[in-house]
């Protein structure tokens, strides 16, 4: 199958073996690398926009009293910081990496559905322009939290339909990206590459893609019901009309919990590529790693209630959600142990991608511990909606998902550009990020336990010290990310030539390392044979 497909492309598509010039190359892009690049650049821009919002939030929280923004703008910033980071930075970054790497890892010439690929990317700039423009309409941007709980979210001003439409567009884009990944992996693997031989990154994305297709329509349904409640006098969530605000929470978190794994599973895949390379040793227990990812994905559908313990829940439901949430620690533990065993009796070197992968290993595990604590229902009543939760999910998302993305970018950037990047600058970026991410988020555990609720613009004076520490960490972490952009731009513009294997001396395995750096425009015009 793959053989026929790739030879067909080789023969009939010669007029497409060079990129178009100028803007047309990007507007009409159908090439997986061009689209991957656009996704990654878009994600980086969103990372800085969402980050700028976080800087304002941390500046306001630097000391008690309101100094910079009023509470309404503060709530708008927290809400949109989350929406932008989740849907604009983390998810598109993973889709970008999938676009670049999956065809190259499975020995395919391109993604299976290139025009849909183009469409799924180009929706995003419009979706986020719409979302960001809500700051300038009467009533301001959405300020009810990214979870959009009604009735509060229904108090949003004129921006409400814009917000809903933007979310719909993001969802459509994600679903199309996911379909493309599944079709590509299922149909375009090189001959001989059976599923269990497939690299872990492609595996993690295959499972993620199914999660996306399963839950994004649920989110679309939930926000559409909000829309009709707001404009068409339905009462899905309005108790006065017989509706039920808690039902929204159930629907939302049925999407929301798998969404959490959508943002971490591809990072698991990246770490499973990077650690073996720089340990010079194959991944330990590769098959059990795949089963672990699949189990986590399955469990993610039946634990959503743990977000809602404090909203009132039958006793049996509390016990059910507690048990299954705790159970997630088992496959997650297997992954951490397997990664550790991968390093055991290896030969470790510490290039930037490895440094980020190691920081991921330690800090994601800390996020896992606080997750386990949060699963304990009685304790969750004390943690719920406090800064302890904020610390928990930032630990799994920043040194988790985002460090995973950075490890991937530093791992494959020389492959993409054909140039080695500035290692010293990249390592500086790593050390500053790894230190300040902890200064930023670790004290938030203390704040939450000491009683500071989340999503408040101002706080009682006893929370001042840790907030100051956290803000200082935040400013330093934010500033350090400028180095990331500098390393990338420098690497695109030039640098020492990278070889095909890039990480000479280490042990990069996978088909992508058999291609030149940068790889040919159509990755594999002739499908490689996998033995």
């Amino acid at each position: 199958m793959a053989q026929t497909l790739s030879s067909g492309i080789a023969h009939h598509d010669d007029h497409h073996d060079q990129p178009d010039t100028g803007i047309k190359r990007w507007l009409f892009a159908t090439n997986h690398k061009d689209i991957g690049t656009m996704y990654l650049v878009f994600s980086l821009i969103m990372f800085f926009i969402g980050g700028a919002m976080a800087m304002v939030i941390r500046a306001e929280l630097f000391q008690p009293g309101l100094q910079l923004v009023d509470p309404v703008l503060f709530n708008q910033l927290t809400t949109n910081h989350a929406l932008i980071m989740i849907f604009g930075a983390v998810m598109p970054a993973f889709v970008g990496l999938a676009n670049w790497m999956i065809p190259m890892q499975i020995g395919a010439p391109d993604m299976a559905l290139p025009r849909m690929n183009n469409f799924s990317f180009w929706i995003l700039p419009f979706a986020f322009t719409l979302l960001l423009s809500t700051f300038f309409v009467p009533g301001g941007a959405a300020a009810g939290g990214w979870t959009l709980y009604p009735p509060l979210s229904l108090q949003t001003g004129d921006s409400f339909p814009m917000l809903i439409f933007a979310i719909h567009m993001m969802g459509i884009s994600s679903i199309m990206g996911a379909i493309n990944v599944i079709v590509t992996i299922m149909n375009m693997r090189a001959p001989g590459m059976n599923l269990l031989k497939m690299p872990l990154f492609a595996w993690s994305w295959l499972i993620t893609a199914y999660l996306l297709i399963a839950v994004m329509p649920v989110l679309a349904g939930a926000v559409t019901m909000l829309l009709t409640d707001h404009f068409f006098k339905t009462s899905f969530f309005n108790p006065a009309g017989g509706g039920d605000p808690v039902m929204f929470e159930h629907i939302f978190w049925f999407f929301g919990h798998p969404e959490v794994y959508i943002m971490i599973l591809p990072a698991f895949g990246i770490i499973s590529e990077v650690l073996p390379t720089f340990s010079r040793k194959p991944l330990f227990g590769a098959t059990s790693m795949i089963y672990a990812i699949a189990s986590i994905a399955f469990l993610s559908f039946i634990v959503w209630g743990h977000h809602m313990f404090a909203d009132g829940m039958p006793l049996a439901a509390q016990l059910f959600y507690m048990m299954y949430t705790m159970l997630i620690a088992v496959p997650t533990g297997v992954k951490v142990f397997n990664w550790t065993a991968t390093m055991w009796r290896g030969s470790l070197s510490f290039e930037p991608p490895m440094l980020f992968a190691l920081a991921f290993l330690f800090l994601f595990t800390i996020g896992g511990f606080s997750g386990l604590m949060l699963a304990i229902v009685p304790a969750d009543f004390q943690y719920n909606q406090t800064y302890f939760v904020v610390a928990h999910f930032h630990y799994v998302l920043v040194p988790g998902a985002i460090f995973g993305i950075m490890a991937g970018v530093y791992y494959w950037l020389p492959k993409w550009t054909g140039h080695m990047y500035n290692m010293t600058l990249a390592k500086t970026h790593f050390w500053l990020s790894a230190i300040f991410v902890n200064v930023l988020f670790f004290p938030q555990h203390f704040l939450g336990l000491a009683g500071m609720p989340r999503r408040i613009p101002d706080y009682a004076v006893q929370f001042t010290d840790w907030n100051m520490v956290s803000s200082i960490g935040g400013f330093a972490f934010g500033a350090s990310q400028i180095l990331f952009a500098i390393v990338i731009v420098q690497c695109i513009r030039g640098g020492r030539k990278a070889t095909s294997a890039v990480w000479e001396g280490a042990l990069p395995t996978g088909l992508e390392w058999t291609l030149s750096s940068p790889p040919p425009y159509h990755s594999f015009t002739i499908a490689p044979e996998i033995l």
Binding site: A143, A240, D244, A286, G312, L327, G346, T365
Partner: protein, 327 residues
């Protein structure tokens, strides 16, 4: 700015009246003032008696539930620390021992071991079961709201709380809003140093008063958006959701009378950060006296024809002030 501030004084007019009256009856004896002052000055320190948080950990609290939660929390924490020491220990050992720069040679045969993989799947399951059993016991206790001795209906509004007493306090009914000094200081560019404000953002005009040693049941609901009622020292948090009545109970240990503070923990709009909860725990006798005073005051106000928040009928419609604020 000045217009907004004026408006906020205006709408709080009736509340103001009740506060001046409340000052004689509502506020606790002197030692509580000292304790409150102590807390405000020391900030982080847990002063004797008031088991509030030490600034970086959960408070042990003053109810059986809060102590059980604290115990569970610390148990899970130490389990996590133990696992972390083992796992991070192995990782750090590997990072030090197996360095390429130190000439380590990779053992490419070490790629799979069914035995260890089964071991590190079973052990976590055992640890989790051991953790889940005591947790389940506490959940059973939390859910048991039977035989409560005092019920209070707590209604969340944007942005205040209403307390309606049933049982022994039948007829007592009032609103609780952010204290005025905090309310001025929290304005953008107010120029007031929050450190100079008494219990900045954690003080109210009319605290909820409850007796110690009594099983108090709260029935939580909301008239607009979702709020959440939380007093960390009681180990008590539950959402107040429109159209729902959630239950919650606690029993403050006798001898732990005093002022306990908390906040709304569910984002509820602009002033989410400014609707604190203050609970004044008194001995059962003092509580009885307080109820009598409240009733007498309400009767007197009704006789004068003035509408105080205590007597205003509110069920079913948001209070006037909330309407003004949300516009």
């Amino acid at each position: 700015m000045s217009r907004r501030r004026l408006k906020s004084i205006e709408i709080r007019g009736p509340v103001l009246k009740s506060m001046t009256r409340g000052d004689e009856s509502t506020f606790p004896p002197c030692r509580h003032w000292v304790r409150a002052l102590c807390l405000a000055t020391l900030g982080l320190a847990a002063s004797a008696g008031a088991n509030t948080s030490n600034g970086y950990n959960l408070p042990i609290g003053v109810t059986g539930l809060s102590r059980d939660i604290y115990t569970l929390h610390m148990e899970v924490f130490w389990v996590c620390v133990a696992i972390a020491i083992v796992v991070f220990g192995v990782m750090i050992y590997a990072l030090v021992k197996f360095r390429h720069s130190q000439g380590a040679v990779a053992d490419a045969t070490l790629v799979h071991s069914t035995k260890v993989e089964i071991v590190w799947t079973i052990i976590p399951i055992v640890i989790l079961v051991v953790m889940a059993i005591p947790a389940a016991k506490v959940i059973l206790m939390m859910e048991d709201t039977r035989n409560s001795e005092l019920s209070i209906r707590v209604t969340g509004y944007q942005w205040k709380w209403q307390y309606e007493y049933m049982d022994a306090g039948e007829g007592v009914n009032f609103f609780s809003t952010l204290a005025r000094d905090s309310n001025f200081a929290r304005e953008l560019h107010s120029g007031i140093d929050p450190k100079t404000v008494n219990n900045y953002l954690l003080n109210v005009d009319n605290p909820m008063v409850i007796p110690s040693g009594t099983k108090v049941r709260l029935l939580l609901t909301s008239q607009d958006v979702i709020h959440a009622w939380w007093v960390p020292d009681f180990g008590a948090k539950r959402s107040a959701i429109p159209g729902f009545v959630n239950e919650l109970w606690f029993k403050v240990d006798p001898g732990k009378e005093g002022i306990y503070r908390g906040q709304c923990t569910s984002l509820c709009g602009r002033d989410h950060g400014f609707m604190p909860i203050v609970v004044d725990v008194r001995t059962p006798d003092d509580f009885k006296k307080w109820v009598e005073q409240q009733k007498a005051a309400a009767k007197q106000a009704a006789a004068q024809g003035g509408q105080t928040p205590e007597t205003a009928p509110l069920a079913g419609q948001p209070p006037r002030s909330a309407q003004v604020l949300s516009n």
